[in-house]
């Protein structure tokens, strides 16, 4: 059952690659999305800990990630149909296959209970997304792809060394050479501390590159900016969450080994640095997709701070809500990009008039990203804030609030500039307007985010609490 989560998309990828029809390939994507979503629902509803051997198992953390990735993919696949119909000029064979491959690899990340396998899956998600970023096949997109590929590969290589270090720490300390997380956590107390700390630093830098923490995030604005909106949505919502979960698994081992305080300090430090970096780069950002990329960096910083101050529940919920909001924003930004034929602010104005649905969705997505109630992001952000504003690290809470405010200033001025006023004449001539196929998927995402803010279903809450408990956070 659990294995099917990986195998079905894998098989679908092969099938899509083999399929000769340019028209049918996109149309078959939502089928995969729906099938995967159904599988995930069944797995989640079934017995907890469904396993396929010792290496693949659905634990709460993985289940959470599965749910995020699956929902996001389902929506994006729906969006992809209309998107690819508009982009008949590009061959979509590799694109569709890689989308399916990405789903397979992300599912693998969620299921992996083995440090080495986790790494392999993470690297694979990087590689299968490179062709997605290169979809537009122009100079800018190849530059972005190149940077993405190289920086992430280097980062992931460091993560591999970190994994090796971790297993060496285990080897030295407990003489147990298994790299299953269950045995790592069981013997964590006996690990060699110097190796452990070095391993954590390497893994933090390695997966942190993939998460996109400043100053390792440099590929993000380029890749998200040049990729189609739908790819940006999958990357910012899915791929980053995968890396975050991988990092959390490692963090849990380090925490159990008694180096939790060290790890948390690093989390808070890097998290705040990311937010600060974003606060600076968000000001006068004149490209809406790059702006969203920086927002992603910001929220990844918030996630790390959340874990760092002991708000695991809030951080995990924020992982979910942020992923969905990022999907929402990138898809809306994609529509705006198409409507105006540009993603630079100097060409965009009056998007709320030209594209009333996408414009309004973009605006509300921005508010959701800012953590405004009643969106789900409010609940998560507020939980993190509550954890931060406790004795011992008041200053973290204060800094978090201040940086949120500054970033809001930078992002808001760009967002409103894009939405308000009169659309330029050039855009009025463009044939691209809001169509249901392009807005309904976004509305779905928005609805989920809104519902999460108003009503968290009991199973979802239990899952979140179990996941938080599984990485050592108080529920």
């Amino acid at each position: 059952m659990a294995l099917a989560l990986v195998l079905v998309p894998l098989a679908w990828a092969l099938f899509l690659y083999a399929l000769p029809s340019e028209r049918w390939r996109p149309a078959l994507l939502p089928l995969l999305g729906a099938a995967h979503l159904a599988l995930v629902v069944r797995v989640l509803a079934g017995t907890p800990g469904a396993a396929a051997g010792t290496w693949l198992r659905v634990d709460p953390l993985g289940a959470l990630l599965l749910a995020v990735v699956s929902v996001l993919f389902a929506v994006c696949s729906l969006y992809a149909v209309s998107y690819l119909r508009l982009r008949r000029d590009r061959p979509n064979r590799a694109f569709c296959a890689c989308l399916a491959l990405f789903l397979a690899m992300a599912s693998l990340v969620a299921l992996s209970q083995h440090l080495g396998l986790l790494w392999v899956a993470m690297e694979a998600t990087t590689l299968v997304t490179a062709p997605l970023i290169y979809f537009n096949r122009n100079q800018r997109s190849i530059e972005a792809t190149w940077k993405y590929l190289l920086i992430c590969s280097v980062g992931i290589a460091l993560a591999l060394l970190g994994s090796f270090f971790l297993s060496y720490a285990s080897l030295l300390g407990s003489r147990d050479s298994s790299l299953l997380f269950s045995s790592l956590t069981a013997h964590a107390g006996e690990f060699s501390r110097p190796w452990l700390r070095a391993a954590f630093v390497l893994l933090l830098v390695g997966y942190g590159t993939k998460i996109g923490l400043a100053p390792l995030h440099t590929w993000k604005p380029d890749a998200y900016g040049e990729a189609p909106g739908l790819v940006g949505a999958l990357l910012a919502g899915g791929a980053t969450s995968c890396a975050f979960v991988a990092l959390l698994r490692v963090f849990h081992v380090v925490d159990l080994a008694g180096e939790g305080a060290f790890a948390r300090r690093l989390f808070v430090g890097l998290g705040l640095l990311s937010m600060l970096w974003v606060a600076v780069f968000m000001a006068r950002q004149r490209d809406i997709k790059r702006m969203l990329a920086y927002s992603s960096v910001e929220h990844m910083g918030i996630l790390l701070i959340g874990v760092g101050v002991g708000g695991a529940f809030g951080a995990l919920l924020h992982m979910v809500t942020n992923a969905l909001v990022k999907g929402w924003l990138f898809l809306a930004a994609g529509n705006i990009h198409r409507g105006f034929g540009s993603k630079r602010l100097r060409d965009i104005a009056g998007a709320a008039r030209l594209l009333p649905w996408s414009g309004a969705l973009f605006l509300f997505g921005f508010l959701a990203a800012a953590g405004s109630p009643p969106f789900g992001t409010f609940v998560s952000l507020f939980s993190i804030l509550g954890a931060a504003l406790t004795p011992g690290h008041w200053w973290v809470g204060g800094a978090l609030l201040a940086l949120l405010a500054v970033t809001f200033l930078g992002m808001g001025s760009s967002v409103l500039r894009a939405l308000q006023g009169e659309p330029p004449a050039r855009a009025l001539e463009s044939p691209h307007r809001d169509r249901p196929a392009g807005t309904v998927p976004i509305l779905l995402l928005a609805a989920v985010v809104l519902v999460l803010g108003l009503w968290l279903p009991r199973p979802a809450q239990e899952l979140l609490e179990a996941a938080a408990a599984s990485i050592g956070g108080a529920p």
Partner: protein, 654 residues
């Protein structure tokens, strides 16, 4: 039961705009009707809770809002705020049918209707929220809804800028509130707005609570220097929106300050002192800035800052009293502040409605172009005059009653031996100064707009608006007079609100009616009206059929309307006195020689905090951030270097 009514009305209000979203004249009219009905129901429920002695009602939401338990509660304090909310919102809904008709504004009118209902409902919800989370959710809905109200006309650059400043300011405030409630939750373990245990308020925690409360709610209330968004937003918004914003929305900030600060049973004395200082600054500088404005709605907006200052003075006195264990100060300070909240809602909405009528009829809000409207718009003029007298705090209208309660409080504090009490007493002369300056400003506002002759040739021939705009103004004017002439009727409601605002006060709070003997005012006011009527009848009888001539021109042979006092010349003397804070910008060509060919003079008073400090600083900072762009110049090698350096630095930490 009443809470159910209020919540039901709120829900109806929130949903009222949905038909209008569809567009069309009929649908928009249907929304307007729904809004009026909702306001009527909600107002009735709130008034019932306010005037009939009933225990506070509470209701918990049957499901959890995500992970938070959420509930609502209707007590005296909430009811006191609810009444003006529903009243002004309902009147504004009627008023909008004439100023922003769907026929002329198209889809914009529908959108405006929708967000209008949403904002009004959210305001009501903030007030009945029983816990921090419900309050935050409603608060944000209100703030964001109001943003859409402000930018109803986003084709204009000025409107967009005002909207953005509003949004940025309100979000900063919301973040402060996030921090506040997270802290309170950490201290008490619950989000419920219940009295805190004693002993928490000292030290850094107490200071953080106080500062976050004052900053978070104060931004919305518009206390100086957090008022930066207020003048722009009020003048940019449609007039009925300005009325709602100025009349009730900013009061929600006051509500928050009162609600949260009085949860603390033992506030440090400096809290009250700080509020008094804030109130004094807001009051005096608010009215001083108002004097310098040429835009009628901006002028009114600065008066909101002033009146919030007056209200905060009362709250400050009450806090000082709570710290010093003086229940009389608490009763008078809070009673005066709360009555002023109600009063300001009445007369400020009236004035904004009036200003809207002027702008609607003439197409301009510029004082230097208006004049003489009293002859062409007599009804509007009379109603505006009522508002002007009331806001200047003059008897026999309602503004006087609330300020009088505050004076009583300050003069009570003068008997105190404590420095805090004597400091509070010093606010009495300050309040007098504020009142006299407000009077000067409204002589200017009313005199320049409605009296004399028109200063410019306006395209439209001005005329009184229709019943949809006049009737709401008339209702408000009547209420202003009613509270002014029979203030004792509202005193029990005030007492109930004060008792609800100050939980866990030792013993019953002293009765306002006893310490203030408000009833006397009523008798005096009636006697005064009798004298007024007698003199008036006599003089009008004596001057009936009096011949008309031109105004005495002192021998000048060709008087023209352009020779009248202008708004800026009227305010020049006082502006000179406050030059140190206002820093007016003056341009022109001075009069030179015996026979000057041409001379000109133009002055304007930009907002010192916003235009001289905040915006330049922010612009400079934003420019500085561009230097940081050198960090990301697109070189992959440099990016990889960042990875290596990060790794090395972190490894060095191992």
């Amino acid at each position: 039961m009443r809470l159910d009514l209020v919540l039901g009305a709120t829900a109806l209000m929130a949903a009222s705009g949905l038909p209008a979203l569809l567009g069309g004249r009929v649908a928009t009219r249907a929304s307007a009707v729904l809004q009026v009905v909702a306001a009527g129901l909600g107002g009735a429920g709130a008034a019932g809770a306010l005037f009939a002695a009933a225990p506070p009602a509470a209701l918990a939401l049957p499901w959890r809002l995500a992970v938070f338990e959420v509930g609502f509660r209707l007590d005296g304090l909430a009811a006191l705020f609810l009444v003006p909310i529903f009243l002004v919102a309902g009147l504004g809904a009627i008023y909008a049918e004439e100023t922003w008709p769907a026929a002329a504004r198209g889809r914009g009118a529908g959108r405006l209707r929708f967000f209008y209902g949403l904002t009004a409902a959210a305001m009501a919800l903030v007030v009945v929220a029983a816990d921090g989370v419900a309050l935050l959710v409603a608060w944000e809905a209100m703030a964001i809804g109001a943003y859409f109200l402000v930018v109803a006309d986003d084709r204009e650059e000025a409107v967009r800028e005002a909207g953005w400043i509003y949004l940025a300011a309100t979000h900063a405030g919301t973040l402060c509130l996030f921090g506040l409630f997270a802290l309170l939750r950490g201290a008490t373990g619950s989000f419920e707005l219940a009295p805190l245990p004693a002993g928490l308020a000292g030290g850094g925690f107490g200071a953080a609570i106080f500062l976050l409360t004052v900053a978070g709610f104060g931004v919305k209330a518009g206390i100086m220097p957090l008022h930066v968004w207020l003048p722009g937003a009020h003048s940019a918004a449609p007039s009925h929106v300005s009325a709602v914003m100025s009349g009730v929305l900013i009061k929600i900030g006051v509500y928050g300050i009162i609600r949260v600060l009085f949860l603390v049973p033992d506030p440090p004395p400096w809290w009250g002192g700080a509020l008094l200082a804030i109130g004094a600054v807001s009051g005096v500088l608010g009215v001083a800035f108002a004097l310098g404005q040429h835009d009628l709605k901006r002028l009114l907006a600065y008066h909101s800052v002033e009146n919030i200052g007056i209200i905060v003075l009362g709250v400050g006195l009450a806090l000082v009293g709570r710290a010093a264990g003086e229940p009389v100060w608490v009763a008078l300070g809070l009673g005066g502040a709360l009555l002023h909240v109600v009063n300001h809602a009445l007369f400020k909405s009236l004035l904004f409605f009036g200003a809207g009528a002027v702008a609607h009829a003439t197409g301009t809000r510029d004082l230097e172009r208006l004049g003489g409207l009293g002859k062409t718009m007599p009804r509007t003029a009379a109603l505006f005059l009522v508002g002007a007298v009331a806001i200047s705090g003059l008897p026999p209208l309602n503004g006087f009653v609330s300020e009088w309660l505050l004076y009583l409080g300050f003069f009570g504090a003068v008997q105190s031996e404590s420095a805090a009490g004597l400091g509070a007493a010093l606010m009495a002369p300050l309040l007098a100064l504020i009142g006299a300056l407000a009077l000067a400003c409204f002589v200017k506002a009313f005199g320049i707009v409605f009296l004399g002759s028109p200063r410019a040739v306006l395209t439209a021939r001005p005329h009184d608006p229709g019943a949809a705009m006049l009737a709401p103004m008339a209702v408000l004017a009547l209420l202003c007079a009613a509270i002014g002439l029979a203030p004792q009727t509202i005193v029990p409601a005030l007492e109930r609100a004060v008792a609800a605002a100050v939980p866990g006060a030792a013993g019953a709070p002293p009765a306002l009616a006893e310490i203030g003997r408000v009833g006397v005012l009523s008798a005096v006011a009636l006697g005064f009206l009798a004298a007024l009527a007698a003199f008036g009848l006599w003089l009008s009888a004596r001057t009936r059929g009096a011949p008309r001539a031109v105004t005495w021109d002192c021998g000048y042979h060709a008087p023209s309307p352009r020779m009248q006092s202008s708004g800026s010349s009227f305010a020049a003397t006082l502006l000179g006195t406050f030059r140190w804070a206002l820093r007016p910008v003056e341009q022109g060509q001075p009069v030179r020689g015996t026979f000057p060919v041409r001379a000109s003079f133009h002055s304007r008073v930009p907002d010192t905090v916003l235009d001289r400090f905040l915006l330049p600083v922010l612009r400079r900072l934003a420019r500085l951030t561009l230097y940081a762009r050198y960090l990301q110049q697109g070189r992959l090698q440099v990016y990889l270097l960042y990875v290596a350096v990060t790794l090395l630095v972190l490894l060095a930490l191992v």
